[in-house]
Protein backbone atom coordinates (compact mmCIF):
# COMPACT_ATOMS: atom_id res chain seq x y z
CA UNK A 1 0.00 0.00 0.00
CA UNK A 2 2.00 2.92 1.23
CA UNK A 3 5.24 1.27 0.21
CA UNK A 4 4.41 1.08 -3.47
CA UNK A 5 4.95 4.81 -3.86
CA UNK A 6 5.30 5.36 -7.61
CA UNK A 7 2.34 4.49 -9.83
CA UNK A 8 2.50 1.25 -11.79
CA UNK A 9 4.73 1.37 -14.84
CA UNK A 10 2.73 2.14 -17.97
CA UNK A 11 2.99 -0.11 -21.03
CA UNK A 12 6.05 0.66 -23.08
CA UNK A 13 5.16 2.59 -26.19
CA UNK A 14 7.78 0.83 -28.30
CA UNK A 15 7.19 -1.18 -31.48
CA UNK A 16 6.37 -4.71 -30.22
CA UNK A 17 3.41 -3.43 -28.20
CA UNK A 18 0.57 -4.80 -30.41
CA UNK A 19 2.04 -8.28 -30.42
CA UNK A 20 2.41 -8.29 -26.68
CA UNK A 21 -1.17 -7.21 -26.23
CA UNK A 22 -2.34 -10.13 -28.34
CA UNK A 23 -0.35 -12.54 -26.25
CA UNK A 24 -1.55 -11.21 -22.91
CA UNK A 25 -5.21 -11.23 -24.02
CA UNK A 26 -5.90 -14.79 -23.01
CA UNK A 27 -4.38 -14.77 -19.51
CA UNK A 28 -6.41 -11.62 -18.89
CA UNK A 29 -9.75 -13.32 -19.51
CA UNK A 30 -8.49 -16.22 -17.45
CA UNK A 31 -7.70 -13.96 -14.50
CA UNK A 32 -11.15 -12.36 -14.76
CA UNK A 33 -12.82 -15.78 -14.80
CA UNK A 34 -10.73 -16.94 -11.85
CA UNK A 35 -11.43 -13.70 -9.98
CA UNK A 36 -15.17 -14.14 -10.39
CA UNK A 37 -14.84 -17.79 -9.38
CA UNK A 38 -12.96 -16.73 -6.26
CA UNK A 39 -15.64 -14.26 -5.25
CA UNK A 40 -18.43 -16.80 -5.87
CA UNK A 41 -16.52 -19.50 -4.02
CA UNK A 42 -16.01 -17.31 -0.98
CA UNK A 43 -19.65 -16.18 -1.11
CA UNK A 44 -20.83 -19.80 -1.12
CA UNK A 45 -18.53 -20.72 1.76
CA UNK A 46 -19.73 -17.76 3.86
CA UNK A 47 -23.36 -18.55 2.98
CA UNK A 48 -22.92 -22.18 4.11
CA UNK A 49 -21.13 -21.16 7.30
CA UNK A 50 -23.81 -18.61 8.12
CA UNK A 51 -26.52 -21.24 7.55
CA UNK A 52 -24.81 -23.97 9.62
CA UNK A 53 -25.81 -22.13 12.76
CA UNK A 54 -22.37 -22.26 14.45
CA UNK A 55 -22.91 -18.61 15.27
CA UNK A 56 -26.40 -17.30 16.03
CA UNK A 57 -28.16 -16.03 12.93
CA UNK A 58 -28.63 -12.68 14.64
CA UNK A 59 -24.89 -12.12 14.90
CA UNK A 60 -23.89 -13.73 11.60
CA UNK A 61 -26.74 -13.13 9.15
CA UNK A 62 -26.99 -15.11 5.94
CA UNK A 63 -24.57 -13.73 3.42
CA UNK A 64 -27.28 -13.46 0.78
CA UNK A 65 -29.37 -11.23 3.03
CA UNK A 66 -26.34 -9.01 3.67
CA UNK A 67 -25.81 -8.62 -0.07
CA UNK A 68 -29.52 -7.85 -0.57
CA UNK A 69 -29.29 -5.33 2.26
CA UNK A 70 -26.36 -3.64 0.50
CA UNK A 71 -28.80 -2.69 -2.27
CA UNK A 72 -31.79 -1.94 -0.02
CA UNK A 73 -29.70 0.29 2.24
CA UNK A 74 -29.48 2.91 -0.50
CA UNK A 75 -33.23 3.48 -0.08
CA UNK A 76 -32.67 4.39 3.57
CA UNK A 77 -32.54 8.21 3.84
CA UNK A 78 -30.73 8.07 7.18
CA UNK A 79 -27.99 6.00 5.61
CA UNK A 80 -27.78 8.24 2.55
CA UNK A 81 -27.39 11.28 4.81
CA UNK A 82 -24.57 9.57 6.74
CA UNK A 83 -22.91 8.58 3.47
CA UNK A 84 -23.16 12.18 2.27
CA UNK A 85 -21.65 13.52 5.51
CA UNK A 86 -18.75 11.07 5.24
CA UNK A 87 -18.06 12.05 1.63
CA UNK A 88 -18.24 15.76 2.47
CA UNK A 89 -15.92 15.41 5.47
CA UNK A 90 -13.55 13.32 3.37
CA UNK A 91 -13.48 15.94 0.62
CA UNK A 92 -12.92 18.90 2.94
CA UNK A 93 -10.29 17.03 4.96
CA UNK A 94 -8.32 15.97 1.91
CA UNK A 95 -8.55 19.37 0.23
CA UNK A 96 -7.39 21.26 3.32
CA UNK A 97 -4.55 18.77 3.91
CA UNK A 98 -3.38 19.32 0.34
CA UNK A 99 -3.63 23.11 0.62
CA UNK A 100 -1.50 23.04 3.78
CA UNK A 101 1.00 20.31 2.89
CA UNK A 102 1.94 21.12 -0.70
CA UNK A 103 3.24 24.71 -0.19
CA UNK A 104 5.05 23.73 3.02
CA UNK A 105 6.52 20.71 1.27
CA UNK A 106 7.76 22.83 -1.62
CA UNK A 107 9.37 25.35 0.75
CA UNK A 108 11.05 22.64 2.83
CA UNK A 109 12.16 20.70 -0.22
CA UNK A 110 13.76 23.62 -2.03
CA UNK A 111 16.80 23.86 0.22
CA UNK A 112 18.90 20.92 1.40
CA UNK A 113 19.21 22.52 4.86
CA UNK A 114 15.47 22.75 5.52
CA UNK A 115 14.93 19.37 3.88
CA UNK A 116 17.27 17.62 6.29
CA UNK A 117 16.30 19.74 9.28
CA UNK A 118 12.58 19.09 8.86
CA UNK A 119 12.82 15.32 8.70
CA UNK A 120 13.53 14.53 12.38
CA UNK A 121 10.76 16.69 13.93
CA UNK A 122 8.23 15.45 11.38
CA UNK A 123 9.17 11.81 11.96
CA UNK A 124 8.77 12.31 15.70
CA UNK A 125 5.44 14.14 15.57
CA UNK A 126 3.85 11.68 13.19
CA UNK A 127 4.68 8.59 15.26
CA UNK A 128 1.75 9.44 17.49
CA UNK A 129 -1.31 7.73 16.00
CA UNK A 130 -4.04 10.15 14.94
CA UNK A 131 -6.69 8.24 16.86
CA UNK A 132 -4.95 9.21 20.11
CA UNK A 133 -5.95 12.80 19.30
CA UNK A 134 -9.66 11.96 19.22
CA UNK A 135 -10.30 12.43 22.97
CA UNK A 136 -8.38 15.72 23.12
CA UNK A 137 -9.86 17.29 20.01
CA UNK A 138 -13.33 16.13 21.01
CA UNK A 139 -12.97 17.99 24.31
CA UNK A 140 -11.76 21.11 22.52
CA UNK A 141 -14.19 21.20 19.61
CA UNK A 142 -17.03 18.90 20.61
CA UNK A 143 -18.74 16.43 18.29
CA UNK A 144 -18.46 18.63 15.24
CA UNK A 145 -17.40 18.48 11.63
CA UNK A 146 -14.39 20.62 12.56
CA UNK A 147 -13.28 17.99 15.07
CA UNK A 148 -13.33 15.30 12.39
CA UNK A 149 -11.49 17.50 9.91
CA UNK A 150 -8.76 18.51 12.37
CA UNK A 151 -7.98 14.88 13.23
CA UNK A 152 -8.16 13.79 9.59
CA UNK A 153 -5.74 16.57 8.65
CA UNK A 154 -3.30 15.57 11.37
CA UNK A 155 -3.18 12.10 9.81
CA UNK A 156 -3.29 13.10 6.15
CA UNK A 157 -0.82 15.97 6.00
CA UNK A 158 2.32 13.83 6.41
CA UNK A 159 2.21 11.63 3.29
CA UNK A 160 1.54 14.66 1.08
CA UNK A 161 4.21 16.70 2.84
CA UNK A 162 6.82 13.94 2.59
CA UNK A 163 6.08 13.16 -1.03
CA UNK A 164 6.16 16.84 -2.00
CA UNK A 165 9.45 17.40 -0.18
CA UNK A 166 10.88 14.30 -1.80
CA UNK A 167 9.64 15.26 -5.25
CA UNK A 168 10.96 18.81 -5.02
CA UNK A 169 14.28 17.55 -3.69
CA UNK A 170 14.62 15.16 -6.63
CA UNK A 171 14.12 17.74 -9.37
CA UNK A 172 16.92 17.49 -11.90
CA UNK A 173 19.30 20.36 -11.02
CA UNK A 174 20.30 20.58 -14.67
CA UNK A 175 16.72 21.41 -15.62
CA UNK A 176 16.69 24.18 -13.02
CA UNK A 177 20.03 25.56 -14.22
CA UNK A 178 18.83 25.40 -17.80
CA UNK A 179 15.76 27.47 -16.96
CA UNK A 180 17.90 30.00 -15.09
CA UNK A 181 20.24 30.28 -18.07
CA UNK A 182 17.29 31.04 -20.30
CA UNK A 183 16.44 33.96 -18.02
CA UNK A 184 13.52 32.45 -16.11
CA UNK A 185 13.02 34.16 -12.75
CA UNK A 186 13.36 32.31 -9.45
CA UNK A 187 9.60 32.13 -9.01
CA UNK A 188 9.30 31.05 -12.63
CA UNK A 189 11.68 28.16 -12.05
CA UNK A 190 9.53 26.97 -9.16
CA UNK A 191 6.32 27.36 -11.13
CA UNK A 192 7.49 25.94 -14.42
CA UNK A 193 10.18 23.40 -13.53
CA UNK A 194 9.97 22.37 -9.88
CA UNK A 195 6.20 22.01 -9.47
CA UNK A 196 5.59 20.11 -12.73
CA UNK A 197 8.37 17.63 -12.09
CA UNK A 198 7.32 17.12 -8.47
CA UNK A 199 3.68 16.72 -9.56
CA UNK A 200 3.60 12.92 -9.79
CA UNK A 201 5.07 12.63 -6.29
CA UNK A 202 2.50 15.06 -4.91
CA UNK A 203 -0.26 13.06 -6.62
CA UNK A 204 0.96 9.84 -5.03
CA UNK A 205 0.94 11.54 -1.63
CA UNK A 206 -2.60 12.77 -2.17
CA UNK A 207 -3.75 9.29 -3.21
CA UNK A 208 -2.25 7.74 -0.06
CA UNK A 209 -3.79 10.46 2.09
CA UNK A 210 -7.19 10.04 0.46
CA UNK A 211 -7.42 6.53 1.95
CA UNK A 212 -6.11 7.78 5.28
CA UNK A 213 -8.74 10.52 5.51
CA UNK A 214 -11.50 8.01 4.81
CA UNK A 215 -10.17 5.64 7.47
CA UNK A 216 -9.87 8.41 10.06
CA UNK A 217 -13.32 9.84 9.36
CA UNK A 218 -14.96 6.42 9.66
CA UNK A 219 -12.93 5.57 12.78
CA UNK A 220 -14.05 8.76 14.51
CA UNK A 221 -17.66 7.85 13.75
CA UNK A 222 -17.21 4.36 15.18
CA UNK A 223 -15.53 5.58 18.36
CA UNK A 224 -17.30 8.84 19.02
CA UNK A 225 -20.77 7.62 18.03
CA UNK A 226 -23.48 10.27 18.15
CA UNK A 227 -21.91 12.26 15.34
CA UNK A 228 -23.04 11.77 11.75
CA UNK A 229 -21.30 9.69 9.11
CA UNK A 230 -20.85 6.10 8.00
CA UNK A 231 -18.81 5.15 11.07
CA UNK A 232 -21.52 6.44 13.38
CA UNK A 233 -24.12 4.56 11.33
CA UNK A 234 -22.21 1.29 11.78
CA UNK A 235 -21.76 1.87 15.53
CA UNK A 236 -25.46 2.76 15.91
CA UNK A 237 -26.62 -0.43 14.20
CA UNK A 238 -24.43 -2.48 16.50
CA UNK A 239 -25.80 -0.65 19.54
CA UNK A 240 -29.40 -1.33 18.43
CA UNK A 241 -28.42 -5.01 18.24
CA UNK A 242 -31.63 -6.32 16.62
CA UNK A 243 -31.30 -8.82 13.79
CA UNK A 244 -32.50 -6.21 11.27
CA UNK A 245 -29.91 -3.71 12.51
CA UNK A 246 -27.03 -6.19 12.47
CA UNK A 247 -27.69 -6.96 8.80
CA UNK A 248 -27.51 -3.23 8.12
CA UNK A 249 -24.24 -3.04 10.04
CA UNK A 250 -22.70 -5.76 7.87
CA UNK A 251 -24.01 -4.12 4.70
CA UNK A 252 -22.66 -0.70 5.74
CA UNK A 253 -19.22 -2.16 6.49
CA UNK A 254 -19.14 -3.63 2.98
CA UNK A 255 -20.23 -0.27 1.55
CA UNK A 256 -17.21 1.39 3.18
CA UNK A 257 -15.09 -1.09 1.23
CA UNK A 258 -16.77 -0.10 -2.02
CA UNK A 259 -16.24 3.55 -1.12
CA UNK A 260 -12.55 3.01 -0.43
CA UNK A 261 -12.16 1.09 -3.66
CA UNK A 262 -13.99 3.79 -5.65
CA UNK A 263 -11.93 6.65 -4.18
CA UNK A 264 -8.68 4.83 -4.79
CA UNK A 265 -9.49 3.88 -8.38
CA UNK A 266 -10.76 7.36 -9.31
CA UNK A 267 -7.62 9.00 -7.97
CA UNK A 268 -5.43 6.31 -9.53
CA UNK A 269 -7.15 6.86 -12.86
CA UNK A 270 -6.74 10.64 -12.60
CA UNK A 271 -3.07 10.18 -11.80
CA UNK A 272 -2.52 8.03 -14.89
CA UNK A 273 -4.68 10.30 -17.04
CA UNK A 274 -2.95 13.60 -16.25
CA UNK A 275 0.44 12.57 -14.98
CA UNK A 276 1.04 9.48 -17.09
CA UNK A 277 3.82 11.21 -18.98
CA UNK A 278 6.02 11.03 -15.92
CA UNK A 279 7.15 7.41 -15.77
CA UNK A 280 7.52 7.18 -19.54
CA UNK A 281 9.77 10.22 -19.76
CA UNK A 282 11.78 9.08 -16.78
CA UNK A 283 12.33 5.60 -18.16
CA UNK A 284 14.12 7.06 -21.17
CA UNK A 285 16.85 8.57 -19.04
Amino acid sequence: MTTTAPPAAPPQPSAPAPRRRARTARPKTRSIVLGVAGILGLAIIIEIVSRLGIVSEVYLPHFSSVIAQMVLIFGDTGFLYDLWVTLLTWFIGLTLSTIVAVPVGILLGLSPVTYRGARAPIELVRTMPAVALIPLVMLALGQTLEMQIVIAMYAAVWPILFNTMYGVRGVDPKAKDMARVFGVSRAGVIGRVVIPSAGPFVATGIRISSSIVLIVVITIGILAGGSDGLGAYIAEQRAIGLASAIVKMYAAILVTGLLGLAINSILGWAERRWLGWDSTTRNDA
Partner: protein, 283 residues
Protein backbone atom coordinates in the same frame (compact mmCIF):
# COMPACT_ATOMS: atom_id res chain seq x y z
CA UNK B 1 25.28 5.78 -14.58
CA UNK B 2 26.52 9.11 -13.27
CA UNK B 3 24.04 9.04 -10.41
CA UNK B 4 25.33 5.60 -9.52
CA UNK B 5 28.93 6.74 -9.39
CA UNK B 6 27.80 9.75 -7.41
CA UNK B 7 25.98 7.53 -4.94
CA UNK B 8 29.04 5.35 -4.50
CA UNK B 9 31.20 8.43 -4.09
CA UNK B 10 28.98 9.88 -1.34
CA UNK B 11 28.92 6.51 0.38
CA UNK B 12 32.70 6.35 0.42
CA UNK B 13 32.82 9.97 1.53
CA UNK B 14 30.48 9.23 4.42
CA UNK B 15 32.48 6.20 5.48
CA UNK B 16 35.70 8.18 5.44
CA UNK B 17 34.25 11.10 7.36
CA UNK B 18 35.90 11.39 10.74
CA UNK B 19 33.89 10.74 13.83
CA UNK B 20 33.59 14.34 15.15
CA UNK B 21 32.35 15.43 11.75
CA UNK B 22 29.70 12.68 11.77
CA UNK B 23 28.54 13.66 15.25
CA UNK B 24 28.36 17.30 14.18
CA UNK B 25 26.25 16.34 11.19
CA UNK B 26 23.93 14.28 13.39
CA UNK B 27 23.45 17.19 15.80
CA UNK B 28 22.89 19.59 12.93
CA UNK B 29 20.32 17.43 11.14
CA UNK B 30 18.44 15.73 13.94
CA UNK B 31 19.07 16.98 17.46
CA UNK B 32 19.18 20.67 16.57
CA UNK B 33 15.81 20.91 14.85
CA UNK B 34 14.19 18.79 17.57
CA UNK B 35 15.51 20.96 20.40
CA UNK B 36 14.45 24.07 18.51
CA UNK B 37 10.95 22.67 18.02
CA UNK B 38 10.56 21.75 21.69
CA UNK B 39 11.80 25.16 22.85
CA UNK B 40 9.42 26.89 20.45
CA UNK B 41 6.57 24.73 21.74
CA UNK B 42 7.49 25.53 25.36
CA UNK B 43 7.71 29.24 24.60
CA UNK B 44 4.44 29.29 22.68
CA UNK B 45 2.46 27.43 25.33
CA UNK B 46 3.78 29.58 28.19
CA UNK B 47 3.20 32.89 26.40
CA UNK B 48 -0.25 32.04 25.07
CA UNK B 49 -1.63 29.98 27.93
CA UNK B 50 -4.30 27.53 26.86
CA UNK B 51 -5.66 24.71 28.99
CA UNK B 52 -5.81 22.43 25.96
CA UNK B 53 -2.09 22.84 25.24
CA UNK B 54 0.07 22.39 28.34
CA UNK B 55 3.79 23.26 27.96
CA UNK B 56 6.01 20.26 27.08
CA UNK B 57 8.08 20.48 30.28
CA UNK B 58 4.90 20.18 32.32
CA UNK B 59 3.97 17.09 30.34
CA UNK B 60 7.37 15.50 30.98
CA UNK B 61 7.11 16.35 34.68
CA UNK B 62 3.69 14.76 34.75
CA UNK B 63 5.03 11.71 32.93
CA UNK B 64 7.55 11.22 35.71
CA UNK B 65 4.75 11.27 38.29
CA UNK B 66 2.31 9.19 36.24
CA UNK B 67 4.73 6.48 35.12
CA UNK B 68 7.79 6.36 37.38
CA UNK B 69 6.67 7.24 40.91
CA UNK B 70 5.67 3.72 41.88
CA UNK B 71 6.72 1.33 44.60
CA UNK B 72 10.28 0.05 44.87
CA UNK B 73 8.96 -3.52 44.55
CA UNK B 74 7.83 -2.76 40.99
CA UNK B 75 11.06 -0.93 40.10
CA UNK B 76 9.30 2.40 40.79
CA UNK B 77 6.93 1.77 37.93
CA UNK B 78 3.33 2.75 38.52
CA UNK B 79 0.29 0.65 37.54
CA UNK B 80 0.04 2.98 34.54
CA UNK B 81 3.06 1.10 33.18
CA UNK B 82 2.72 -2.33 34.78
CA UNK B 83 -1.00 -2.67 34.08
CA UNK B 84 -2.17 -0.38 31.30
CA UNK B 85 0.90 -0.07 29.10
CA UNK B 86 1.69 -3.74 29.61
CA UNK B 87 -1.86 -4.71 28.59
CA UNK B 88 -1.68 -2.60 25.45
CA UNK B 89 1.74 -3.97 24.54
CA UNK B 90 0.56 -7.55 25.11
CA UNK B 91 -2.46 -7.13 22.81
CA UNK B 92 -0.38 -5.29 20.25
CA UNK B 93 2.45 -7.81 20.12
CA UNK B 94 0.28 -10.93 20.08
CA UNK B 95 -2.00 -9.40 17.45
CA UNK B 96 0.98 -8.28 15.41
CA UNK B 97 2.62 -11.72 15.61
CA UNK B 98 -0.54 -13.63 14.68
CA UNK B 99 -1.46 -11.21 11.90
CA UNK B 100 2.06 -11.16 10.46
CA UNK B 101 2.42 -14.96 10.51
CA UNK B 102 -0.95 -15.32 8.80
CA UNK B 103 -0.07 -12.55 6.34
CA UNK B 104 3.26 -14.11 5.40
CA UNK B 105 1.65 -17.54 4.83
CA UNK B 106 -1.20 -16.17 2.72
CA UNK B 107 1.09 -13.74 0.92
CA UNK B 108 3.46 -16.57 0.00
CA UNK B 109 0.60 -18.65 -1.38
CA UNK B 110 -0.58 -15.71 -3.46
CA UNK B 111 2.91 -14.80 -4.60
CA UNK B 112 3.90 -18.34 -5.56
CA UNK B 113 0.88 -19.35 -7.59
CA UNK B 114 -0.70 -17.35 -10.40
CA UNK B 115 -3.94 -19.32 -9.99
CA UNK B 116 -4.20 -18.44 -6.29
CA UNK B 117 -3.39 -14.81 -7.11
CA UNK B 118 -6.09 -14.61 -9.77
CA UNK B 119 -8.60 -16.33 -7.49
CA UNK B 120 -7.99 -14.06 -4.52
CA UNK B 121 -7.07 -10.75 -6.15
CA UNK B 122 -10.56 -9.16 -6.27
CA UNK B 123 -11.37 -10.40 -2.77
CA UNK B 124 -8.14 -9.05 -1.30
CA UNK B 125 -8.51 -5.74 -3.12
CA UNK B 126 -12.04 -5.32 -1.82
CA UNK B 127 -11.50 -6.45 1.76
CA UNK B 128 -8.40 -4.33 2.28
CA UNK B 129 -10.34 -1.30 1.06
CA UNK B 130 -12.59 -1.62 4.09
CA UNK B 131 -11.05 0.52 6.83
CA UNK B 132 -9.98 -2.01 9.48
CA UNK B 133 -11.51 0.15 12.19
CA UNK B 134 -14.92 -0.15 10.51
CA UNK B 135 -14.86 -3.86 11.31
CA UNK B 136 -14.47 -3.29 15.07
CA UNK B 137 -18.25 -3.53 15.74
CA UNK B 138 -18.26 -6.80 13.82
CA UNK B 139 -15.48 -8.22 15.98
CA UNK B 140 -17.31 -7.07 19.11
CA UNK B 141 -20.52 -8.77 17.97
CA UNK B 142 -18.80 -12.03 17.05
CA UNK B 143 -16.19 -12.29 19.82
CA UNK B 144 -17.45 -10.18 22.71
CA UNK B 145 -15.51 -7.54 24.64
CA UNK B 146 -12.41 -9.28 25.98
CA UNK B 147 -8.78 -9.62 24.87
CA UNK B 148 -9.47 -12.37 22.30
CA UNK B 149 -11.58 -9.89 20.34
CA UNK B 150 -8.86 -7.20 20.54
CA UNK B 151 -6.11 -9.56 19.42
CA UNK B 152 -8.21 -10.91 16.53
CA UNK B 153 -9.08 -7.35 15.49
CA UNK B 154 -5.43 -6.22 15.53
CA UNK B 155 -4.32 -9.38 13.70
CA UNK B 156 -6.97 -8.87 11.04
CA UNK B 157 -6.07 -5.22 10.43
CA UNK B 158 -2.35 -5.89 10.40
CA UNK B 159 -2.46 -8.90 8.07
CA UNK B 160 -3.39 -6.92 4.92
CA UNK B 161 -0.15 -4.94 4.86
CA UNK B 162 1.85 -8.13 5.29
CA UNK B 163 -0.15 -10.10 2.69
CA UNK B 164 0.25 -7.44 0.01
CA UNK B 165 3.95 -6.93 0.61
CA UNK B 166 4.77 -10.62 0.96
CA UNK B 167 2.90 -11.46 -2.25
CA UNK B 168 4.72 -8.68 -4.09
CA UNK B 169 8.07 -9.79 -2.72
CA UNK B 170 7.55 -13.48 -3.42
CA UNK B 171 6.25 -12.99 -6.96
CA UNK B 172 9.25 -10.82 -7.83
CA UNK B 173 11.76 -13.53 -6.88
CA UNK B 174 13.81 -14.34 -9.97
CA UNK B 175 12.78 -17.54 -11.70
CA UNK B 176 16.37 -18.58 -12.28
CA UNK B 177 17.00 -18.56 -8.53
CA UNK B 178 14.19 -21.05 -7.99
CA UNK B 179 15.26 -23.19 -10.95
CA UNK B 180 18.82 -23.17 -9.69
CA UNK B 181 17.56 -24.59 -6.39
CA UNK B 182 15.55 -27.25 -8.20
CA UNK B 183 18.58 -28.27 -10.27
CA UNK B 184 20.54 -28.68 -7.08
CA UNK B 185 17.74 -30.95 -5.84
CA UNK B 186 16.61 -28.69 -3.00
CA UNK B 187 13.28 -29.99 -1.71
CA UNK B 188 10.13 -27.93 -2.46
CA UNK B 189 9.98 -26.87 1.19
CA UNK B 190 13.65 -25.97 1.00
CA UNK B 191 13.05 -23.85 -2.09
CA UNK B 192 10.24 -22.08 -0.29
CA UNK B 193 12.00 -21.39 2.98
CA UNK B 194 15.63 -21.13 1.91
CA UNK B 195 15.33 -19.39 -1.46
CA UNK B 196 11.95 -17.70 -1.91
CA UNK B 197 11.39 -16.45 1.64
CA UNK B 198 14.87 -14.89 2.11
CA UNK B 199 14.66 -13.24 -1.31
CA UNK B 200 11.27 -11.75 -0.40
CA UNK B 201 12.37 -10.61 3.07
CA UNK B 202 13.23 -6.97 2.24
CA UNK B 203 9.71 -6.46 0.91
CA UNK B 204 8.16 -8.39 3.80
CA UNK B 205 9.97 -6.15 6.27
CA UNK B 206 8.59 -3.10 4.50
CA UNK B 207 5.13 -4.54 5.18
CA UNK B 208 5.97 -5.37 8.79
CA UNK B 209 7.09 -1.81 9.45
CA UNK B 210 3.74 -0.42 8.30
CA UNK B 211 2.03 -3.22 10.20
CA UNK B 212 3.62 -2.44 13.57
CA UNK B 213 2.55 1.20 13.36
CA UNK B 214 -0.94 0.06 12.41
CA UNK B 215 -0.96 -2.43 15.29
CA UNK B 216 -0.41 0.36 17.83
CA UNK B 217 -3.24 2.37 16.30
CA UNK B 218 -5.61 -0.61 16.22
CA UNK B 219 -4.74 -1.59 19.80
CA UNK B 220 -5.71 1.87 21.04
CA UNK B 221 -8.87 1.94 18.95
CA UNK B 222 -9.88 -1.45 20.35
CA UNK B 223 -9.40 -0.14 23.90
CA UNK B 224 -11.66 2.86 23.45
CA UNK B 225 -14.73 0.67 23.94
CA UNK B 226 -15.52 -2.10 26.43
CA UNK B 227 -12.01 -2.13 27.92
CA UNK B 228 -11.07 -2.05 31.60
CA UNK B 229 -7.40 -1.19 31.12
CA UNK B 230 -4.90 -0.16 28.46
CA UNK B 231 -3.64 3.12 27.05
CA UNK B 232 -6.75 3.68 24.94
CA UNK B 233 -8.93 3.11 28.02
CA UNK B 234 -6.87 5.59 30.06
CA UNK B 235 -7.21 8.19 27.30
CA UNK B 236 -11.00 7.85 27.41
CA UNK B 237 -10.98 8.12 31.22
CA UNK B 238 -8.79 11.23 31.04
CA UNK B 239 -11.21 12.71 28.54
CA UNK B 240 -14.21 11.98 30.74
CA UNK B 241 -12.53 13.66 33.72
CA UNK B 242 -11.15 16.62 31.75
CA UNK B 243 -7.62 15.60 32.78
CA UNK B 244 -5.89 17.31 29.89
CA UNK B 245 -2.39 17.07 31.26
CA UNK B 246 -2.81 13.32 31.82
CA UNK B 247 -4.15 12.97 28.31
CA UNK B 248 -1.08 14.69 26.84
CA UNK B 249 1.16 12.51 28.96
CA UNK B 250 -0.42 9.36 27.55
CA UNK B 251 -0.10 10.81 24.07
CA UNK B 252 3.60 11.44 24.70
CA UNK B 253 3.97 7.81 25.77
CA UNK B 254 2.23 6.73 22.57
CA UNK B 255 4.63 8.75 20.43
CA UNK B 256 7.58 7.21 22.28
CA UNK B 257 6.10 3.71 21.94
CA UNK B 258 5.54 4.19 18.22
CA UNK B 259 9.11 5.35 17.81
CA UNK B 260 10.56 2.49 19.90
CA UNK B 261 8.55 -0.16 18.06
CA UNK B 262 9.67 1.22 14.72
CA UNK B 263 13.31 1.34 15.82
CA UNK B 264 13.12 -2.22 17.17
CA UNK B 265 11.77 -3.50 13.89
CA UNK B 266 14.40 -1.58 11.97
CA UNK B 267 17.06 -3.13 14.20
CA UNK B 268 15.71 -6.64 13.52
CA UNK B 269 15.60 -5.83 9.83
CA UNK B 270 19.14 -4.51 9.95
CA UNK B 271 20.41 -7.70 11.59
CA UNK B 272 18.38 -10.03 9.37
CA UNK B 273 19.13 -8.36 6.08
CA UNK B 274 22.85 -7.74 6.39
CA UNK B 275 23.49 -9.93 3.33
CA UNK B 276 21.01 -7.97 1.25
CA UNK B 277 22.69 -4.62 1.89
CA UNK B 278 26.12 -6.10 1.22
CA UNK B 279 25.00 -7.59 -2.08
CA UNK B 280 23.47 -4.28 -3.09
CA UNK B 281 26.61 -2.31 -2.39
CA UNK B 282 28.66 -4.86 -4.31
CA UNK B 283 26.22 -5.02 -7.22
Amino acid sequence: MTTQTQAIATRIQKAEMRRPARVALLVLNYVGPLVALILLWQWGTTVAENKFFPPPFTIVENAQRLFFSGDASTLFLTPAITVDTAATLYRLLVGFAVGSAFGILVGMAIGRSIVVRDLTNPIVEFLRSIPATATLPLFIILLGGDDAMRIAFIAYGVSWFVIINTAAGVSSVHKTQIEMGQIFKVSPAGVLFRIVLPAALPKIFAGLRIAVTAALLLAIVSEFTLATNGIGYQLVIAQATFALRTMWTWMLLLAVLGLVLNLLLELIEHLTLKWDRLSRIAG
